[in-house]
């Protein structure tokens, strides 16, 4: 344990002004996440509930397994691993096959955390590592969306949810067609904007009457959760604000230049996973820089890169990759923005 102390001391200017324990922070994050989860279950039905349970359980079991393998005391009780599980489920499509979700959760814990020594040493956000892995592994399943508020969503699961392990999920297009009145195109607001130049009105984005990943559809509830955490000083408000600012900095001039081609900044902020990423993912304390200036650079970088990937890249949504790349670059940002101590050389 002595090693742990040294580590904390070496990282100058810590985030938190007050002494709070890990479980305390984690409990508050769970409070902020619960409304998002609840809304998601309400909007998409029991499939999302199963998804949440699967990822959280798999994350906890994997954590227990890796702790056992490395001979460390189990760290399930601090709650951080449950949050990884919840966050992971919220970034997946509602009808995502459960076996794939379990793979994502296992990878998130193994590759995102255990490999580097567990809590406090992950180099990237574990939930997003898991998400990025399944995005690369199962590109079809992770871009199969289902509409919210389907009738009967509490009595039956989306057919793809219960796919047998290692098997391809059944196509759900027909199943959706039988249940929707107006033809659902299966496209998220971002895809509609990118490929058909259709801008979804912002009230829909705010309340979440749109297709998308389980927990990203209602920007309003996520925002409220973020405000709660910021007020309780459980997260650095600079991070979400910086990410949003970064997104606006890139999208506003483009929109002013050519409004027919580029979406307005409000749409950029409220659509896709930007809000979820800004509030709950980019704020991962371990994988973000430690200096105040560094935090601003990091947050702006994520926001700007998200919009660049969305507007100029092949993907419709870039917030996940932007955060992962932000995590990757954060040690370098920390280094560049480190205040130099007078009379002392830079430590190697």
């Amino acid at each position: 344990m002595s090693e742990l102390r040294i580590t904390t001391d070496l990282r100058s200017s810590p985030h938190l002004k007050q002494m709070v324990s890990v479980p305390q922070i984690m409990r508050n994050v769970v409070y902020a996440l619960l409304p998002v989860c609840a809304w998601s279950v309400y909007a998409f039905g029991i499939s999302v509930l199963l998804l949440l349970i699967t990822t959280t359980l798999t994350c906890m079991l994997s954590e227990a397994l890796f702790c056992r393998l490395s001979g460390k005391a189990s760290s399930i009780s601090d709650g951080s691993i449950a949050i990884t599980g919840l966050l992971l489920a919220l970034t997946l499509p509602p009808g995502f096959p459960l076996w794939m979700a379990a793979v994502a959760a296992f990878v998130a814990v193994g590759l995102g955390k255990a490999l580097f020594g567990g809590l406090g040493y992950n180099v990237m956000n574990p939930a997003l590592v898991g998400r990025a892995f399944v995005q690369a592994a199962f590109p079809v399943a992770i871009t199969t969306w289902s509409p919210p508020f389907l009738p009967g969503r509490f009595s039956e699961v989306i057919p793809s949810t219960l796919t047998a392990p290692f098997m391809k999920p059944v196509p759900i297009g027909e199943w959706i067609e039988q249940r929707t009145v107006d033809g659902f195109s299966g496209a998220t607001p971002l895809a509609l904007q990118k490929f058909e130049q259709i801008i979804t009105p912002w009230p829909d984005l705010l309340t979440g009457t749109i297709a998308g990943s389980a927990g990203e559809t209602s920007a309003l509830i996520i925002l409220l959760g973020g405000i709660y955490l910021a007020v309780r000083r459980m997260l650095d408000w600079r991070l979400p604000v910086g990410v949003m600012l970064g997104a606006v900095i890139v999208s506003l001039p483009l929109w002013l230049l050519d409004a027919s081609r580029y979406p307005d900044p409000l749409f950029v902020l409220l659509s896709g996973g930007l809000m979820l990423g800004a509030v709950f993912m980019a704020t991962d304390m371990v994988a973000s820089p430690v200096t105040p200036l560094g935090v601003w650079i990091y947050a702006l970088f994520i926001g700007m890169l998200t919009v660049v990937i969305r507007l100029f890249g092949g993907l419709t949504e870039g917030v996940m990759y932007a955060i992962l790349l932000g995590n990757a670059i954060s040690p370098l940002i920390s280094l560049v923005t480190q205040p130099k101590i007078f009379g002392e050389g830079r430590k190697p």
Binding site: P139, F195, E196, G314
Partner: protein, 227 residues
């Protein structure tokens, strides 16, 4: 490498001679081996390449059984010769010896990297008769459907590419439409979920056809056998 020895230590003439002898010997040996293997494999490789080109060619020009290579140059279309610079154009001929169509390469940036295709153009129906993907790095299961998906390939059985009256482009541009919305001969039905890869195909076909179709139409006599 060679300079290393000379730069660092004073070299005796004997050593220089021995170095030159060894290097000379090795270089001769290496040259001999390389030329030998080149000579031996050259006919086989040429044959392999010919077969590969013809396999693709006869697929995109239905009914073709023989081929003749041409070159699109500044002066128009000429028989291919090794010293000509320009874009390669393959003409395919049917059983009766008549021109069945021509094939050209086209390329555009896809989702991951540049996609290269060979497409067959029939100058008599003024339409594209088939495409064959030569090189791509699209996502397996999504973008790579451009090569395999039979429904998508159906787009290219008779895709209109008609030269306009002024002879500087197509009368109607080749465009991509959403899956299931193809209603005109010059439209391509996209693969749902693979919009970017589908769009790349549409764009490269349109760009290439806009440029070359009028030229091909004006130079048909060059390629048609003299009979």
């Amino acid at each position: 490498m060679i300079q290393e020895g000379t730069a660092q230590s004073p070299v005796s003439p004997a050593l220089t001679r021995s170095m030159l002898r060894t290097l000379g010997l090795v270089a001769t040996l290496s040259g001999l081996l390389v030329v030998l293997s080149y000579r031996i494999t050259l006919p086989i490789i040429e044959e392999n390449k010919r077969l590969a080109i013809e396999r693709a060619l006869f697929k995109v020009i239905p009914g073709a059984i023989s081929r003749q290579d041409f070159m699109i140059t500044d002066r128009g279309i000429e028989l291919a010769q090794s010293d000509l610079q320009g874009t390669a154009l393959y003409a395919g001929y049917g059983q009766d010896g008549r021109l069945k169509g021509v094939a050209l390469e086209a390329a555009a940036a896809g989702y991951q990297d540049v996609i290269r295709i060979l497409y067959g153009y029939d100058p008599y129906c003024q339409c594209i008769r088939g495409i064959e993907v030569l090189k791509m790095a699209e996502t397996p299961g999504i973008g790579d459907k451009i090569a395999k998906d039979p429904v998508f390939q159906e787009n290219f059985t008779a895709l209109e590419a008609r030269a306009n009256a002024t002879g500087d482009g197509l009368e109607r541009a080749i465009v991509l439409v959403k899956q299931g919305e193809k209603s005109e001969a010059w439209q391509i039905d996209a693969i749902s979920g693979a919009t970017i890869s589908s769009k790349a195909i549409a764009r490269m076909l349109n760009d290439s056809a806009q440029r070359y179709v009028p030229l091909i139409q004006n130079n048909l006599a060059v390629m048609e056998p003299a009979s």
